[in-house]
Subunit: 637 residues, 2 copies
Amino acid sequence: MAAQTDRSALSDHYDIVIVGAGPVGLMLSTCLARWGYKIKHIDNRAEPTPTGRADGIQPRSLDLLRNMGLKSAIMAHQPARVYEVAFWDPPKNGKGIVRTGTWASCPSFIDARYPFTTLLHQGLIERVFIADLKKNAVEVQRPWTITDFTSNEKEDSEYPVTVQIEHVDGTASETIKAKYLFGGEGGKSFVRDQLKIAVTHKDPIAHVWGVMDGVVNTDFPDIKMKCTIHSEHGSIMVIPREDNMVRLYIQIASSTDADWHPRKTATAEEVQASAKKILAPYTIEWERVEWFSVYPIGQGISDKYTLDHRVFLGGDACHTHSPKAGQGMNTAFLDAQNLAWKIHAVESGFARRSLLETYEPERKDVAETLLSFDNKYAKLFSQRPPPADTVAAASAGATAAAAAGQEENEFIKTFKESCAFTSGYGVFYKANALNWSAAHPAQSHVVHPASTKLVPGRLFMNADVTRVVDANTVHLEQEVPLNGAFRLFIFAGKPTVTAQALRDLAAGMTRKGSFYTAYTRPDIDSVSHHERHNPHSHFFTVCSIFVAKRSNIEISRDLPALLARYRGNVYADDRHAVSAHAKMGLDQERGAVVVVRPDGYTGIVVALAEGSATVDALNQYFGSFCTKELGGTQSQL
Amino acid sequence: MAAQTDRSALSDHYDIVIVGAGPVGLMLSTCLARWGYKIKHIDNRAEPTPTGRADGIQPRSLDLLRNMGLKSAIMAHQPARVYEVAFWDPPKNGKGIVRTGTWASCPSFIDARYPFTTLLHQGLIERVFIADLKKNAVEVQRPWTITDFTSNEKEDSEYPVTVQIEHVDGTASETIKAKYLFGGEGGKSFVRDQLKIAVTHKDPIAHVWGVMDGVVNTDFPDIKMKCTIHSEHGSIMVIPREDNMVRLYIQIASSTDADWHPRKTATAEEVQASAKKILAPYTIEWERVEWFSVYPIGQGISDKYTLDHRVFLGGDACHTHSPKAGQGMNTAFLDAQNLAWKIHAVESGFARRSLLETYEPERKDVAETLLSFDNKYAKLFSQRPPPADTVAAASAGATAAAAAGQEENEFIKTFKESCAFTSGYGVFYKANALNWSAAHPAQSHVVHPASTKLVPGRLFMNADVTRVVDANTVHLEQEVPLNGAFRLFIFAGKPTVTAQALRDLAAGMTRKGSFYTAYTRPDIDSVSHHERHNPHSHFFTVCSIFVAKRSNIEISRDLPALLARYRGNVYADDRHAVSAHAKMGLDQERGAVVVVRPDGYTGIVVALAEGSATVDALNQYFGSFCTKELGGTQSQL
């Protein structure tokens, strides 16, 4: 689907050069490879990560991996699943440590499909992506490194980036012309350094961390849980892993120490000796150490994620922080996903080039939140936890308390924010052309019905529905795969009530110059009737949801032909007493149209009205970032 | 774990020769390979099933595949999932067909984890097993066939079976000595024929069926559902399949026809022409026919499954019936699973050889039920369905009706039995040494507490619990893999109430000559502390479940050391308002011990009493089929 040009077949011309095959580079590569882009992907390591590094997949990231069809390959490795975090502290009287509390890591007030953190060695995760890339004939070129690049749109508007790469042993080199360059090389980014982009440290305090993966023999009862252990001998964090492994994080030095030095280190034996003291009276012995590393890390954010919207940065190249909250890989995934669909939208002629300008503010804002959260989180973990009943209130009763109008205390607030943020469900994007607000060009009486609980810039909500065509119970938010298309969820209320509104919507979508018709597939006449998600356009997938029993819905009767064409995406909102409509605050009789971005974040909510108001609003919404003027009047499809 | 003998290393000596690599042969082979047996597995086809044949995995079979760790490999092929069955009939007035009803294929009164039928090409399922066999270095030898065999325990008590096999082209042959021979060759079984075992036809009526797999273009709205369509032009059954395929079954002839001939046939074109007429006014066109076959089939059961308990039959070699209910592969799986663990129990020295005598009665009885059900089911499907409210009552309200003491009508009864049976949850085994009854040698006041809802010979119930060690929410019935071991579920009620009973149980289990101590692993002193399921014995895996909050359970405090050793198998019964204890009718304070056979069927329920009564009952139960005299008094472990 990459825009074809005369030069696209040249062997040294690529759509994108991706440097670094860690989580951020692989996610970007995988998305773009699926959408047909020509990719040069290099990494300076001879192999995928052999041991150590990141390992935490947060609940919302698992949703994303499932949406890409990669979850089962991840889970096949039988990762550890963390449902709870245990706190251990010195007893009030006496020596040693005692468990002072446990928290759900993703409490029930978060509407998560997978309320746990998945722990798996980064190398295994990388290999899942690499296997997927192979299906699209993309191979990571190893061990190769970038040595130079330039970007000049004036000289070459189509392939403005020139990249020099070479084998790490210097025996071979290549010069590549590309439309884009992506630096996903981690904290020590050559691309970032070349661009002279500085890293700003939010918190001036830096730390030296020791991390050890291994197999242990211990009588410590919570070795299969995530634990924060404070003792008079120091503190440690325990993270369970696949294959009976356990990861220990230990803080070796802090820049607040009198003798601080960022090169301060410790041997594996020293860390083990520390761990033994901290865990006493429990015993711990190592059967095997798989990986041990000591590294200094500060909190930093790259000042810019791009200078010219041709050379981009993402992942650890843009943000560094403590490993405690397990956010690194997850933030990297979302950086890449955000950039991938935007590059696709621009290069395929759907969105104006300015769409790329939303990458940095959206993702940098999340990184800023992550860093300020990282501080709070560290503080939360370094304190003795509050009494169990306060935690219980925070986990389960908080919503009840909130509903009752009671004020939440600071702990509960921080705890809830923490859980929402670490689970990934709390990530949100601020208002812009994609995320509707009162400042958006799309304004009319049908836009953003007052009752809706969906928030533009936040994730579309999870909902169970019944697929009409085969009576399967499905997760609505997973029904459209990560295919680069915007998702139009037509909540169609009661069929008898919305019949005319649906006809008007379909007529409006069919009109020449509508957002929908303006981006029709060039091959629309030869599309197979089996094509489920993109029969008319590569940029839209439509789902219709009725508040009715499945057996009472007749797709060809209840939907106009345009919408009925998506017969695999028609649903009965009949699974729960509280319907999906009601859960999202949408009118259960009259429905509403929800536009969800290709990455699953809500774009805009529009009432489903008779007449042209609904389509007019959608035309305005898409018109704010699409390449064509939208809102014509003639029928075309 | 196969019993080692002097001859086991000889290249022509095998534990078992398995003929046929369809579902029954592969299931048997996979189980025995995992448990360390030396297997010669042959199949007369050059490749696994390329197209067609069986395709339906029923809900309970999916549980079994999950228990073997094979479910995700099956689901990776994205099989079709049938949740409902639709009925189409001629309208009261006019021509064509109309939908007259839909039924849940596995209604909610069945406590199924996966309430749908999984449809996938048999060849893909076979390949999942073949991949697993490869991990244990077993390869199916193809295309090889059996040409002769003898079985004589008097001549050779250890390897009584001699098998001649040869390459189908006659270029090579082998003579093999084996402990067992298994005929899983399908309806035309050489092994069965050689043994001169007759097939008895329960229903004298035979049918000729046409079956066609293909990809179609149709406006028939229920093409993704299982459908039974009756029209004035004939009847057809529609089964959705993976990859946009659909299977059509059409009855071509019946022995009740005036012109009946079992060789009556039809071409693919004739079947397509029939289907077009039957589906009118809807249209259907074939884009591709993947497989087409016409075959005569009657209802038959092999008179014997074995003559000498050395040469066994299973799968289609033992039972043939209409393909309508999708039971063939599922019954084959259970034949094989039943035989596999019994061979293992005998060959590893745990059970007396007479245990093998339970294979035929248990599985033949199920086949008889299947055949009589097949008739009822066919009748149910050939009738116009009753009004929707009757079906609704049957699906959802039936239990309510039953609870209210109202009599269920014939339709509801048949429907419920059908659903239970086709889902696989209705399969049960009659009383014998394994399945306790009032006639069993194990008799005392603690045996089979009156309140229990568990029925010996029926499946252990599904239950959600929280694993203590890592706070994971798990399915209790899946916690012990298919490892050939009996599962001791110690429902331990309230820790404060059962403390003494648990100590007494552990002491009794530890005593010399107890069922548990009598079968200790010979390598018990060198077993890794990571060994989760079989630290003490290959024949027992222990799980303990407390009615308590997870955070209040301390494994080392609440369980005696013997039971605490299974720290990965300790659970909090805290997931639902109705606890697992209550669901199974077990005392929520005082608990009970449930023995589950290696194949997941309940063996015996014993109250958890202080003193020795509980262990005494367990010794009596196992003593009824184990090799050693059980019930000694000295401590050993």
